[in-house]
Amino acid sequence: MALISEQFPVVFQSLNIGFLQTLKLFFVTLLGALPLGLIISFGSMTKFKPVQWLTRFIVWVVRGTPLMIQLLIIYYFPGLVMHNTIWGGGEDGRFIAACVAFIFNYACYFSEIYRGGIQSIPVGQDEAGLVLGMTKSQIFFKVKLLQMIKRIVPPISNEIITLVKDTSLARIIALQELIWAGQAFLKGSHGISGAIWPLFFTAVYYLAFTGILTVLLGRLEKKLEYFR
Protein backbone atom coordinates (compact mmCIF):
# COMPACT_ATOMS: atom_id res chain seq x y z
CA MET A 1 0.00 0.00 0.00
CA ALA A 2 2.93 2.27 0.64
CA LEU A 3 3.77 1.84 -2.99
CA ILE A 4 0.38 3.20 -4.09
CA SER A 5 0.71 6.30 -1.95
CA GLU A 6 4.10 6.95 -3.54
CA GLN A 7 2.71 6.44 -7.03
CA PHE A 8 -0.46 8.39 -6.41
CA PRO A 9 0.65 11.99 -7.19
CA VAL A 10 2.12 10.97 -10.55
CA VAL A 11 -0.87 8.80 -11.45
CA PHE A 12 -3.35 11.42 -10.31
CA GLN A 13 -1.79 14.07 -12.53
CA SER A 14 -1.73 11.76 -15.53
CA LEU A 15 -5.33 10.62 -15.01
CA ASN A 16 -6.47 14.24 -14.74
CA ILE A 17 -5.01 14.98 -18.16
CA GLY A 18 -6.83 11.93 -19.56
CA PHE A 19 -10.04 12.98 -17.84
CA LEU A 20 -9.78 16.42 -19.42
CA GLN A 21 -9.77 14.78 -22.84
CA THR A 22 -12.77 12.66 -21.76
CA LEU A 23 -14.64 15.81 -20.70
CA LYS A 24 -13.81 17.55 -23.97
CA LEU A 25 -15.17 14.63 -25.97
CA PHE A 26 -18.26 14.51 -23.76
CA PHE A 27 -19.17 18.19 -24.11
CA VAL A 28 -18.36 18.48 -27.80
CA THR A 29 -20.53 15.42 -28.45
CA LEU A 30 -23.46 16.91 -26.52
CA LEU A 31 -23.09 20.29 -28.20
CA GLY A 32 -23.16 18.67 -31.63
CA ALA A 33 -25.57 15.80 -31.08
CA LEU A 34 -28.39 17.63 -29.27
CA PRO A 35 -29.19 19.99 -32.20
CA LEU A 36 -28.22 17.49 -34.93
CA GLY A 37 -30.64 15.00 -33.36
CA LEU A 38 -33.48 17.50 -33.75
CA ILE A 39 -32.69 17.91 -37.45
CA ILE A 40 -32.57 14.13 -37.91
CA SER A 41 -35.89 13.76 -36.07
CA PHE A 42 -37.50 16.24 -38.48
CA GLY A 43 -36.07 14.16 -41.33
CA SER A 44 -37.61 10.98 -39.97
CA MET A 45 -40.99 12.71 -39.53
CA THR A 46 -41.17 14.60 -42.83
CA LYS A 47 -44.00 13.79 -45.20
CA PHE A 48 -41.49 13.73 -48.09
CA LYS A 49 -41.01 9.96 -48.26
CA PRO A 50 -37.51 9.66 -49.84
CA VAL A 51 -36.01 11.84 -47.09
CA GLN A 52 -37.94 9.95 -44.44
CA TRP A 53 -36.74 6.55 -45.73
CA LEU A 54 -33.14 7.69 -46.08
CA THR A 55 -33.13 9.18 -42.57
CA ARG A 56 -34.68 6.12 -41.01
CA PHE A 57 -32.22 3.88 -42.88
CA ILE A 58 -29.27 5.84 -41.55
CA VAL A 59 -30.67 5.79 -38.02
CA TRP A 60 -31.14 2.02 -38.32
CA VAL A 61 -27.55 1.48 -39.44
CA VAL A 62 -26.05 3.76 -36.78
CA ARG A 63 -28.12 2.32 -33.95
CA GLY A 64 -27.71 -1.21 -35.26
CA THR A 65 -23.90 -1.35 -35.25
CA PRO A 66 -21.43 -1.01 -32.37
CA LEU A 67 -20.10 2.47 -31.71
CA MET A 68 -16.64 0.91 -31.44
CA ILE A 69 -16.83 -0.29 -35.06
CA GLN A 70 -18.10 3.13 -36.15
CA LEU A 71 -15.11 4.74 -34.47
CA LEU A 72 -12.70 2.40 -36.26
CA ILE A 73 -14.36 2.88 -39.64
CA ILE A 74 -14.56 6.67 -39.37
CA TYR A 75 -10.94 6.95 -38.20
CA TYR A 76 -9.28 4.43 -40.51
CA PHE A 77 -11.53 4.20 -43.58
CA PRO A 78 -10.54 7.53 -45.25
CA GLY A 79 -6.86 6.70 -44.85
CA LEU A 80 -7.25 3.17 -46.20
CA VAL A 81 -9.29 4.22 -49.23
CA MET A 82 -7.78 7.58 -50.08
CA HIS A 83 -4.32 6.77 -48.69
CA ASN A 84 -4.51 10.11 -46.98
CA THR A 85 -6.37 10.52 -43.71
CA ILE A 86 -8.71 13.48 -43.69
CA TRP A 87 -8.50 13.79 -39.90
CA GLY A 88 -4.92 14.96 -39.72
CA GLY A 89 -2.32 13.20 -37.64
CA GLY A 90 -1.71 12.80 -33.96
CA GLU A 91 -3.97 13.36 -30.99
CA ASP A 92 -5.86 16.23 -32.65
CA GLY A 93 -6.77 14.05 -35.62
CA ARG A 94 -7.93 11.24 -33.36
CA PHE A 95 -10.01 13.70 -31.33
CA ILE A 96 -11.75 15.10 -34.40
CA ALA A 97 -12.52 11.62 -35.71
CA ALA A 98 -13.85 10.55 -32.31
CA CYS A 99 -16.08 13.65 -32.13
CA VAL A 100 -17.54 12.95 -35.57
CA ALA A 101 -18.30 9.33 -34.66
CA PHE A 102 -19.80 10.21 -31.26
CA ILE A 103 -21.86 13.16 -32.51
CA PHE A 104 -23.35 11.13 -35.33
CA ASN A 105 -24.04 8.11 -33.15
CA TYR A 106 -25.65 10.06 -30.32
CA ALA A 107 -27.61 12.33 -32.67
CA CYS A 108 -29.33 9.23 -34.04
CA TYR A 109 -30.32 8.06 -30.56
CA PHE A 110 -31.45 11.58 -29.59
CA SER A 111 -33.47 11.88 -32.80
CA GLU A 112 -35.62 8.91 -31.83
CA ILE A 113 -36.17 10.37 -28.36
CA TYR A 114 -37.14 13.74 -29.89
CA ARG A 115 -39.48 12.00 -32.33
CA GLY A 116 -41.17 10.16 -29.47
CA GLY A 117 -41.45 13.41 -27.51
CA ILE A 118 -42.92 15.41 -30.36
CA GLN A 119 -45.35 12.70 -31.41
CA SER A 120 -46.56 12.18 -27.84
CA ILE A 121 -47.95 15.72 -27.67
CA PRO A 122 -51.70 15.55 -28.34
CA VAL A 123 -52.82 16.88 -31.74
CA GLY A 124 -55.26 19.08 -29.80
CA GLN A 125 -52.35 21.36 -28.89
CA ASP A 126 -51.68 22.01 -32.59
CA GLU A 127 -55.35 22.54 -33.30
CA ALA A 128 -55.82 24.92 -30.38
CA GLY A 129 -52.88 26.96 -31.66
CA LEU A 130 -54.17 26.95 -35.23
CA VAL A 131 -57.67 28.17 -34.35
CA LEU A 132 -56.04 30.94 -32.30
CA GLY A 133 -54.33 32.17 -35.46
CA MET A 134 -50.83 30.99 -34.61
CA THR A 135 -48.31 30.01 -37.27
CA LYS A 136 -46.78 26.53 -37.31
CA SER A 137 -43.47 27.83 -35.97
CA GLN A 138 -45.21 29.78 -33.19
CA ILE A 139 -47.03 26.59 -32.23
CA PHE A 140 -43.76 24.65 -32.17
CA PHE A 141 -41.71 27.17 -30.20
CA LYS A 142 -44.37 28.71 -27.94
CA VAL A 143 -46.60 25.72 -27.29
CA LYS A 144 -44.97 22.37 -28.01
CA LEU A 145 -41.23 22.77 -27.39
CA LEU A 146 -41.35 23.06 -23.60
CA GLN A 147 -43.85 20.20 -23.34
CA MET A 148 -41.52 18.13 -25.50
CA ILE A 149 -38.47 19.03 -23.38
CA LYS A 150 -40.33 18.03 -20.23
CA ARG A 151 -41.13 14.64 -21.71
CA ILE A 152 -37.65 13.91 -23.03
CA VAL A 153 -35.56 14.98 -20.01
CA PRO A 154 -35.66 11.51 -18.37
CA PRO A 155 -34.71 9.49 -21.49
CA ILE A 156 -32.13 12.10 -22.59
CA SER A 157 -30.62 12.03 -19.08
CA ASN A 158 -30.20 8.30 -19.50
CA GLU A 159 -28.32 8.77 -22.77
CA ILE A 160 -26.15 11.51 -21.28
CA ILE A 161 -25.11 9.24 -18.40
CA THR A 162 -24.34 6.48 -20.91
CA LEU A 163 -22.30 8.92 -22.99
CA VAL A 164 -19.99 9.65 -20.03
CA LYS A 165 -18.97 6.00 -19.97
CA ASP A 166 -19.10 5.47 -23.75
CA THR A 167 -16.34 8.05 -24.21
CA SER A 168 -14.00 5.29 -23.03
CA LEU A 169 -14.62 3.53 -26.37
CA ALA A 170 -12.41 6.19 -28.00
CA ARG A 171 -9.53 4.22 -26.48
CA ILE A 172 -9.86 1.91 -29.51
CA ILE A 173 -8.38 4.60 -31.77
CA ALA A 174 -5.81 5.45 -29.10
CA LEU A 175 -7.39 8.74 -28.07
CA GLN A 176 -5.59 9.70 -24.89
CA GLU A 177 -8.62 9.83 -22.68
CA LEU A 178 -9.08 8.57 -19.14
CA ILE A 179 -8.94 4.79 -19.80
CA TRP A 180 -5.91 5.23 -22.04
CA ALA A 181 -4.19 7.20 -19.29
CA GLY A 182 -4.98 4.55 -16.67
CA GLN A 183 -3.93 1.68 -18.87
CA ALA A 184 -0.60 3.33 -19.67
CA PHE A 185 0.72 2.45 -16.20
CA LEU A 186 0.46 -1.27 -17.03
CA LYS A 187 3.00 -1.11 -19.82
CA GLY A 188 4.94 1.69 -18.28
CA SER A 189 4.54 5.43 -18.01
CA HIS A 190 6.18 8.13 -15.92
CA GLY A 191 8.51 5.52 -14.50
CA ILE A 192 5.69 3.32 -13.25
CA SER A 193 4.98 -0.04 -14.89
CA GLY A 194 2.97 -3.13 -14.06
CA ALA A 195 0.48 -1.13 -11.97
CA ILE A 196 -3.14 -2.05 -12.63
CA TRP A 197 -4.69 0.02 -9.83
CA PRO A 198 -4.68 3.27 -11.87
CA LEU A 199 -6.93 1.59 -14.42
CA PHE A 200 -9.31 0.49 -11.66
CA PHE A 201 -9.13 3.94 -10.12
CA THR A 202 -10.51 5.57 -13.31
CA ALA A 203 -13.93 4.25 -12.26
CA VAL A 204 -13.95 6.85 -9.47
CA TYR A 205 -13.80 9.66 -12.05
CA TYR A 206 -16.72 8.26 -14.05
CA LEU A 207 -18.75 7.69 -10.91
CA ALA A 208 -18.13 11.19 -9.56
CA PHE A 209 -18.93 12.86 -12.88
CA THR A 210 -22.13 10.87 -13.47
CA GLY A 211 -23.07 11.70 -9.88
CA ILE A 212 -22.81 15.43 -10.56
CA LEU A 213 -24.78 15.04 -13.81
CA THR A 214 -27.49 13.02 -12.07
CA VAL A 215 -28.00 15.82 -9.56
CA LEU A 216 -28.06 18.54 -12.25
CA LEU A 217 -30.45 16.65 -14.55
CA GLY A 218 -32.65 15.82 -11.57
CA ARG A 219 -32.88 19.55 -10.82
CA LEU A 220 -33.89 20.28 -14.40
CA GLU A 221 -36.58 17.62 -14.18
CA LYS A 222 -37.80 19.13 -10.93
CA LYS A 223 -37.87 22.62 -12.49
CA LEU A 224 -40.26 21.38 -15.15
CA GLU A 225 -42.64 19.86 -12.64
CA TYR A 226 -44.61 23.09 -12.36
CA PHE A 227 -46.90 21.94 -15.14
CA ARG A 228 -48.33 18.64 -16.31
Binding site: P122, G124, Q125, E127, A128, G129, L130, V131, L132, G133, M134, T135, Q138, K142, V143, L146, Q147, K150, Y226, F227, R228
Partner: protein
Protein backbone atom coordinates in the same frame (compact mmCIF):
# COMPACT_ATOMS: atom_id res chain seq x y z
CA UNK B 1 -78.37 39.83 -41.67
CA UNK B 2 -76.70 36.47 -42.00
CA UNK B 3 -73.17 36.70 -40.66
CA UNK B 4 -72.47 33.17 -41.87
CA UNK B 5 -73.68 31.34 -44.95
CA UNK B 6 -72.72 27.74 -45.56
CA UNK B 7 -73.53 26.45 -49.02
CA UNK B 8 -73.52 22.85 -50.22
CA UNK B 9 -70.60 21.66 -48.09
CA UNK B 10 -69.45 18.12 -48.73
CA UNK B 11 -66.63 16.23 -47.07
CA UNK B 12 -65.48 12.64 -47.24
CA UNK B 13 -62.77 10.71 -45.43
CA UNK B 14 -61.23 7.87 -47.43
CA UNK B 15 -64.39 6.85 -49.27
CA UNK B 16 -66.94 7.65 -46.61
CA UNK B 17 -69.06 10.72 -47.22
CA UNK B 18 -69.42 12.35 -43.79
CA UNK B 19 -71.02 15.65 -44.86
CA UNK B 20 -73.51 15.69 -47.71
CA UNK B 21 -74.72 18.93 -49.19
CA UNK B 22 -74.85 20.93 -45.96
CA UNK B 23 -76.36 24.41 -46.29
CA UNK B 24 -77.54 26.82 -43.62
CA UNK B 25 -77.45 30.46 -42.60
CA UNK B 26 -76.71 31.99 -39.25
CA UNK B 27 -78.04 35.49 -38.50
CA UNK B 28 -75.87 37.80 -36.42
CA UNK B 29 -76.46 37.57 -32.69
CA UNK B 30 -78.16 34.21 -32.80
CA UNK B 31 -77.18 30.90 -31.27
CA UNK B 32 -77.45 27.77 -33.38
CA UNK B 33 -77.35 24.35 -31.76
CA UNK B 34 -76.35 21.29 -33.76
CA UNK B 35 -77.58 18.00 -32.38
CA UNK B 36 -77.36 14.43 -33.62
CA UNK B 37 -75.86 11.08 -32.73
CA UNK B 38 -72.14 10.37 -32.74
CA UNK B 39 -70.76 10.08 -36.24
CA UNK B 40 -73.48 12.21 -37.78
CA UNK B 41 -70.93 14.80 -38.95
CA UNK B 42 -71.50 17.58 -36.39
CA UNK B 43 -67.88 17.89 -35.32
CA UNK B 44 -66.59 17.60 -38.89
CA UNK B 45 -68.84 20.51 -39.84
CA UNK B 46 -67.36 22.69 -37.07
CA UNK B 47 -63.84 21.65 -38.08
CA UNK B 48 -64.57 22.66 -41.69
CA UNK B 49 -65.66 26.11 -40.53
CA UNK B 50 -62.41 26.50 -38.57
CA UNK B 51 -60.22 25.30 -41.46
CA UNK B 52 -59.10 22.24 -39.53
CA UNK B 53 -60.61 20.21 -42.38
CA UNK B 54 -60.94 21.23 -46.01
CA UNK B 55 -64.37 20.57 -47.54
CA UNK B 56 -64.39 18.79 -50.91
CA UNK B 57 -67.23 20.93 -52.18
CA UNK B 58 -69.20 24.03 -51.30
CA UNK B 59 -68.75 27.61 -50.15
CA UNK B 60 -68.40 29.35 -46.81
CA UNK B 61 -69.30 33.03 -46.67
CA UNK B 62 -68.70 35.26 -43.66
CA UNK B 63 -70.03 38.82 -43.71
CA UNK B 64 -70.45 38.68 -47.49
CA UNK B 65 -66.82 37.61 -48.01
CA UNK B 66 -66.34 34.21 -49.63
CA UNK B 67 -63.72 32.79 -47.28
CA UNK B 68 -63.81 29.34 -48.80
CA UNK B 69 -64.83 28.01 -52.19
CA UNK B 70 -63.87 24.44 -53.03
CA UNK B 71 -63.54 25.14 -56.76
CA UNK B 72 -61.46 28.28 -56.28
CA UNK B 73 -57.92 27.54 -55.01
CA UNK B 74 -57.27 31.26 -54.51
CA UNK B 75 -59.64 31.13 -51.50
CA UNK B 76 -57.51 28.40 -49.90
CA UNK B 77 -54.07 29.99 -49.80
CA UNK B 78 -52.12 29.00 -46.70
CA UNK B 79 -51.17 32.59 -45.93
CA UNK B 80 -54.81 33.75 -45.90
CA UNK B 81 -56.17 30.81 -43.92
CA UNK B 82 -54.65 32.16 -40.70
CA UNK B 83 -56.51 35.45 -40.99
CA UNK B 84 -59.75 33.78 -42.08
CA UNK B 85 -59.69 31.41 -39.13
CA UNK B 86 -59.99 34.41 -36.85
CA UNK B 87 -63.58 34.93 -37.98
CA UNK B 88 -64.25 31.84 -35.90
CA UNK B 89 -63.40 30.81 -32.39
CA UNK B 90 -63.45 27.17 -31.36
CA UNK B 91 -63.90 25.70 -27.91
CA UNK B 92 -62.88 22.05 -27.82
CA UNK B 93 -64.40 19.12 -26.03
CA UNK B 94 -61.08 18.49 -24.24
CA UNK B 95 -60.28 22.18 -23.59
CA UNK B 96 -56.77 21.89 -25.09
CA UNK B 97 -55.34 24.53 -22.80
CA UNK B 98 -51.56 24.99 -22.97
CA UNK B 99 -50.34 23.23 -19.81
CA UNK B 100 -47.16 25.26 -19.27
CA UNK B 101 -49.03 28.56 -19.11
CA UNK B 102 -51.26 29.96 -16.37
CA UNK B 103 -54.93 30.64 -17.03
CA UNK B 104 -54.11 34.29 -17.72
CA UNK B 105 -51.17 33.44 -19.99
CA UNK B 106 -53.39 31.03 -21.92
CA UNK B 107 -55.82 33.87 -22.61
CA UNK B 108 -53.05 36.37 -23.47
CA UNK B 109 -50.68 34.28 -25.64
CA UNK B 110 -52.44 34.45 -29.02
CA UNK B 111 -53.29 38.14 -28.52
CA UNK B 112 -49.64 38.92 -27.79
CA UNK B 113 -48.43 37.03 -30.85
CA UNK B 114 -50.95 38.80 -33.07
CA UNK B 115 -50.08 42.19 -31.56
CA UNK B 116 -46.45 41.72 -32.62
CA UNK B 117 -47.63 41.89 -36.24
CA UNK B 118 -49.14 45.33 -35.69
CA UNK B 119 -47.29 48.26 -37.25
CA UNK B 120 -47.43 50.28 -34.05
CA UNK B 121 -46.24 47.42 -31.82
CA UNK B 122 -42.67 48.68 -31.44
CA UNK B 123 -43.68 52.21 -30.52
CA UNK B 124 -46.67 51.38 -28.31
CA UNK B 125 -45.43 48.11 -26.94
CA UNK B 126 -46.06 48.82 -23.26
CA UNK B 127 -49.51 50.24 -23.85
CA UNK B 128 -50.52 47.28 -26.05
CA UNK B 129 -49.23 44.70 -23.57
CA UNK B 130 -51.08 46.45 -20.77
CA UNK B 131 -54.34 46.52 -22.71
CA UNK B 132 -54.02 42.82 -23.52
CA UNK B 133 -53.49 41.98 -19.87
CA UNK B 134 -56.39 44.12 -18.67
CA UNK B 135 -58.71 42.68 -21.29
CA UNK B 136 -57.68 39.13 -20.43
CA UNK B 137 -58.22 39.65 -16.71
CA UNK B 138 -61.64 41.13 -17.45
CA UNK B 139 -62.53 38.08 -19.54
CA UNK B 140 -61.48 35.70 -16.78
CA UNK B 141 -63.54 37.70 -14.31
CA UNK B 142 -66.49 37.44 -16.64
CA UNK B 143 -66.01 33.68 -16.54
CA UNK B 144 -65.98 33.90 -12.71
CA UNK B 145 -62.32 32.96 -12.70
CA UNK B 146 -60.83 36.22 -11.44
CA UNK B 147 -59.17 34.39 -8.53
CA UNK B 148 -57.77 31.64 -10.77
CA UNK B 149 -55.72 33.79 -13.17
CA UNK B 150 -52.38 32.54 -11.82
CA UNK B 151 -53.32 28.86 -11.72
CA UNK B 152 -51.96 26.33 -14.16
CA UNK B 153 -54.45 24.13 -16.02
CA UNK B 154 -53.67 21.04 -13.93
CA UNK B 155 -54.61 23.01 -10.82
CA UNK B 156 -58.10 23.73 -12.20
CA UNK B 157 -61.21 21.58 -12.40
CA UNK B 158 -62.54 20.54 -15.79
CA UNK B 159 -65.27 23.15 -15.61
CA UNK B 160 -62.76 25.86 -14.76
CA UNK B 161 -60.44 24.75 -17.56
CA UNK B 162 -63.28 24.91 -20.06
CA UNK B 163 -64.18 28.41 -18.92
CA UNK B 164 -60.55 29.49 -19.39
CA UNK B 165 -60.76 28.00 -22.89
CA UNK B 166 -63.90 30.06 -23.56
CA UNK B 167 -62.15 33.23 -22.35
CA UNK B 168 -59.18 32.37 -24.59
CA UNK B 169 -61.46 32.04 -27.62
CA UNK B 170 -63.39 35.23 -26.79
CA UNK B 171 -60.15 37.20 -26.42
CA UNK B 172 -59.66 37.22 -30.19
CA UNK B 173 -63.17 38.63 -30.68
CA UNK B 174 -64.39 36.09 -33.23
CA UNK B 175 -67.49 36.83 -35.32
CA UNK B 176 -68.76 33.36 -34.59
CA UNK B 177 -67.87 31.29 -31.54
CA UNK B 178 -68.08 27.54 -32.03
CA UNK B 179 -68.41 24.97 -29.26
CA UNK B 180 -67.63 21.32 -29.91
CA UNK B 181 -69.49 19.37 -27.22
CA UNK B 182 -68.14 21.73 -24.53
CA UNK B 183 -69.46 19.69 -21.60
CA UNK B 184 -68.98 16.13 -22.85
CA UNK B 185 -65.68 15.67 -21.01
CA UNK B 186 -67.07 17.04 -17.73
CA UNK B 187 -68.57 15.40 -14.67
CA UNK B 188 -72.29 16.17 -14.38
CA UNK B 189 -71.79 18.56 -11.45
CA UNK B 190 -69.34 20.64 -13.50
CA UNK B 191 -71.54 20.82 -16.59
CA UNK B 192 -73.80 23.47 -15.12
CA UNK B 193 -71.11 26.13 -14.57
CA UNK B 194 -69.99 25.88 -18.22
CA UNK B 195 -73.55 25.92 -19.59
CA UNK B 196 -74.23 28.97 -17.42
CA UNK B 197 -71.51 31.06 -19.08
CA UNK B 198 -72.59 29.94 -22.56
CA UNK B 199 -76.14 30.96 -21.65
CA UNK B 200 -74.88 34.37 -20.56
CA UNK B 201 -73.07 34.78 -23.87
CA UNK B 202 -76.30 33.94 -25.70
CA UNK B 203 -78.11 36.59 -23.68
CA UNK B 204 -75.49 39.09 -24.82
CA UNK B 205 -76.22 38.00 -28.39
CA UNK B 206 -72.86 36.49 -29.13
CA UNK B 207 -73.18 34.66 -32.46
CA UNK B 208 -72.59 31.01 -31.65
CA UNK B 209 -72.71 27.49 -33.03
CA UNK B 210 -72.99 24.90 -30.31
CA UNK B 211 -72.60 21.19 -30.96
CA UNK B 212 -74.14 19.57 -27.92
CA UNK B 213 -75.79 16.52 -26.42
CA UNK B 214 -77.60 18.62 -23.82
CA UNK B 215 -81.09 18.73 -25.33
CA UNK B 216 -82.76 20.81 -22.63
CA UNK B 217 -79.94 23.34 -22.88
CA UNK B 218 -80.18 23.50 -26.68
CA UNK B 219 -83.93 24.04 -26.45
CA UNK B 220 -83.52 26.84 -23.90
CA UNK B 221 -80.52 28.72 -25.20
CA UNK B 222 -80.42 28.26 -28.97
CA UNK B 223 -82.56 30.24 -31.39
CA UNK B 224 -82.43 27.51 -34.00
CA UNK B 225 -81.48 23.86 -34.00
CA UNK B 226 -80.06 21.71 -36.76
CA UNK B 227 -80.51 17.96 -36.40
CA UNK B 228 -77.87 16.06 -38.30
CA UNK B 229 -78.16 12.42 -39.27
CA UNK B 230 -75.67 10.45 -41.35
CA UNK B 231 -74.07 13.56 -42.81
CA UNK B 232 -77.19 15.43 -43.84
CA UNK B 233 -79.33 18.07 -42.16
CA UNK B 234 -82.34 15.91 -41.41
CA UNK B 235 -84.36 18.64 -39.75
CA UNK B 236 -83.91 22.28 -38.83
CA UNK B 237 -85.99 25.04 -37.34
CA UNK B 238 -86.68 27.11 -34.23
CA UNK B 239 -85.25 25.40 -31.16
CA UNK B 240 -88.44 24.81 -29.20
CA UNK B 241 -90.34 23.46 -32.21
CA UNK B 242 -87.57 21.04 -33.07
CA UNK B 243 -87.38 19.60 -29.57
CA UNK B 244 -91.09 19.74 -28.67
CA UNK B 245 -92.49 18.77 -32.02
CA UNK B 246 -90.08 16.65 -34.07
CA UNK B 247 -91.29 15.84 -37.57
CA UNK B 248 -89.01 13.08 -38.82
CA UNK B 249 -88.95 9.56 -37.44
CA UNK B 250 -85.16 9.79 -36.99
CA UNK B 251 -85.39 12.86 -34.76
CA UNK B 252 -88.26 11.38 -32.78
CA UNK B 253 -86.18 8.26 -32.20
CA UNK B 254 -83.11 10.35 -31.32
CA UNK B 255 -84.94 12.52 -28.79
CA UNK B 256 -86.69 9.59 -27.12
CA UNK B 257 -83.39 7.83 -26.35
Amino acid sequence: MAVLKVENIEKSFENTLVLKDISFELPEGQALAIIGSSGSGKTTLLRCLNFLETPDRGRIIVKDEVIFEADDPSTQLEKDVRRKRLHFGLVFQNFNLFPQYTALQNVMLAQQLLAKERDDYKTNRRQIEKEIEEKSIALLEKMNLGDRAGHYPHQLSGGQQQRVAIARALALEPDILCFDEPTSALDPELTGEVLKVIRELAEEHMTMIIVTHEMAFARDVADNIIFMDEGIIAEQGPAKEIIDNPQTERLKAFLSV
